[in-house]
Symmetry: C2
């Protein structure tokens, strides 16, 4: 008998070869699964909502994992949480552990993922304390131009221009919200919320937005890229360390099971999230 | 013929044995002086406004340095700035280089230094991305109690209770401003502005404030500590990595020389800053 748990965590992606377990490489999934297996060797793999790339961070990653029911009953959330934080290194912090609602799947129950990307376009305002999660951008950015272009992304589109192509995988995604603003004057924060993201999609979108913000491209370029719907080498992929998986949105507890079934059936594609 | 330059910089103090040059140890002063000596071997020592301890960071450190007049005339601020940033590692960022006003002394012309200290008192909100400059605090803090206690510090007092004693050095300082607030709900930021600070003073004051914020001590304890005016072992010295030298305030250019003379004469004490 197992109990499904939902675990939320944040991590500094520096030095990790991304979320997904890989042999002989440090990964977040690997670190979390190793910690769980110290607690109970019978605990199996964990499934996450957003498979972050190498060097990408998370503040609100969500995972599910099935653990022996007796373990959950005997330890409870507080002890398990403390154990997980003791067993993972300082780059990972588990925020919460709870019993998952019936039918919950961290990946397939999710309604949307929200990612943010941070750039500093003012060399005089560069803060070495933030260098692990802010990208230095040498040219000044016009955030109002970027916001106009970002607005064009909202809705269902083929994001092939921004995605690393994968055999048989769709590149159609629905962006539900975009935001571009300055944080404390010196940092530009780009936020994107979508049902799911393809591989390298946020970093490519931010690359296109940066070209528009610099004035090298017109905001209308964004529409052209979407319409062309094929990989465009003029779109720069921004470095991973500016990117953070901020949060994952789920339906109410009584609908997570239904949502998981729906998503699983709908995506013949092997969606990157 | 030399020209006095004023250089502003920020740094991640992690891995540095503090500001002040020490043989065989990595220090910020050592790194900056080494970079300057690569540019011109005749450049002498630099003088800073706030001699930060090992592991303490800075956003607005100010230094002065005398360089050959011909070097300044031939390079100018932009080239010198770029060179300094190339020659120092990623933990240091030089924000600006300019000719200093007549009589300027980074240490003695300063009117005040502002330090901030950051604590996270919500384990569920702990962000591994911020672990280099935020201290984890296991118990919840009441910032209104802390603010009341901090207010007691304003004015000229003997801060002996908070200072590591030094032979023949005064522990009298004038605090001009205190602030305690929550930043994004989860981080408590304590800000202190004073003419100067003794060694470990901010970290000890924050230690006392944390005890008050936890409810282990009454805000009136702060007054008792000030009145007693002697080192108190019950005051915890907080770890260095939560501390940042935020800024240094100077009088207008025409008064910096006068201020330097005044401070130099006034302090028979060898003031830590």
């Amino acid at each position: 008998m197992t109990t499904r748990l939902v675990v939320t965590l944040g991590y500094d992606g520096s030095g990790f070869a991304g979320w997904a377990r890989q042999p002989h490489l440090p990964t977040v999934q690997g670190a979390l699964e190793s910690a769980l297996q110290v607690i109970d060797p019978s605990i199996g793999p964990v499934t996450c909502a957003g498979r972050t790339d190498a060097g990408v961070h998370a503040r609100g990653q969500v995972v599910h994992v099935d653990v022996p029911a007796r373990l959950w009953e005997s330890r409870g959330p507080q002890r398990l949480l403390a154990q997980l934080n003791r067993l993972t290194d300082e780059r990972i912090h588990v925020h919460s552990v709870a019993e998952a609602p019936t039918g919950f799947d961290a990946r397939f129950s999710a309604l949307s993922r929200t990612y943010s990307y941070r750039l500093c376009d003012d060399p005089a305002g560069w803060d070495p304390l933030f260098r692990g999660w802010v990208t230095m951008h040498r040219r000044p950015l016009d955030t109002s131009l970027m916001a106009v272009a970002a607005e064009e992304l909202v809705g269902e589109h083929d994001f092939a221009a921004f995605c690393r192509p994968r055999e048989g995988a769709s590149t159609i995604r629905r962006i539900v919200r975009t935001d571009v603003h300055r944080d404390g004057g010196r940092r530009v924060v780009v936020t994107l919320e979508a049902d799911a993201f393809c591989h390298s999609m946020v970093r490519s979108v931010v690359g296109a937005l940066a070209a528009i913000g610099e004035g090298r491209r017109d905001p209308a370029w964004m529409v052209q890229l979407l319409t062309a719907a094929r990989r465009d080498s003029r779109v720069m992929v921004m470095p991973p360390h500016g990117l953070v998986l901020e949060s994952v949105r789920y339906p109410s507890d009584d609908l997570v099971g239904e949502r998981a079934v729906l998503t699983r059936n709908f995506r013949g594609r092997s969606a990157e999230s």
